[in-house]
Amino acid sequence: MSPRLALFAPLIVFVVVAPFLWLALDRDPNELPSARIGEPFPAFSLPSLEDPKELLNTADMRGQVALVNVWATWCYACRIEHAMLNELALMGVKIIGLNYKDNRQEATRWLNQLGDPYAFSIFDAQGSLGLDLGVYGAPETYLLDAKGIIQYRRVGVLDQRSWQREFAERYQLLVSGDVE
């Protein structure tokens, strides 16, 4: 390599590396791809939060496009998210709660205090359903179609912005497809 060409070496290295850095700017390294997208909601049989005697299963997840929200009273970010969930429920979005490794009394108190946006809440004290879903940190929110197939997953707080960016369009599409 001639010495003059060697002077361009740093530029060449930069040009090669820059696209990767550019792509990485938009990526959240904390976000795991969900292995469950496109798959049916995992089979389970767990009591509801409201009534320990009522057993819920996969059949309860079907019939209507719904969000499944993984929450717990020990989860600080869930408190932040709760107002948004109340709002969505008011808009008519069906939200199913997955109360994850929590205490029944505290969870009930939480819903009494902050409002209950959930159609019902699954009480997963051991986190077994959470494990089957691949939950790794509450809050997480899943979008299910009417057949109970997982269409999307978000890890982290669901707020106005993430709803608009990630859910609104997908939700509308599923709902309108459901009607036809």
Binding site: A35, L131, D132, G134, G137
Partner: protein
Amino acid sequence: MRAGMLFSAVVMLSSGLVFGQTEVVEFSDESLRPRYLQLIEELRCPKCQNQNLADSNSAISIDLRLQIQSLLEQQNSNAEIKSYLTERYSDFILYRPLVDRRTLFLWVAPIFFMLSAAAAMVLVLRRQHRISDHPSDDSQIVISDSDKQRLAQLLNTRNDLR
């Protein structure tokens, strides 16, 4: 004073020995333990990114360690346990990625880079050899009279500047 220094040295040196794993793991068959240790070493904590399950103290890692323990007790093979986890947490959880179409580049790239570095080195060394093998080449360089004149001129100006 000396005892104090000794003490703090011991504390500092032993702090590196603290592991994330806190729970006591009991196996019905002790031969499962090495496999357990190998698995939690090779599997990644989904929450904490740069730690394996053995290192991490996060709630999800504790759950996964317990799950791996019970899967081992149920006579699952290492491959079965890994696929159980990737079904739920995707390939992300494998610190040793599978070899397939998507990861081929990852596996081949280091070899490729090593080979090209070796090739570059051979080329450079050969060239240097060629130059040092024929030192007489230098004397055979013919400089025209006009060039010689110019050279002298340039050297003179340099000297003037000094």
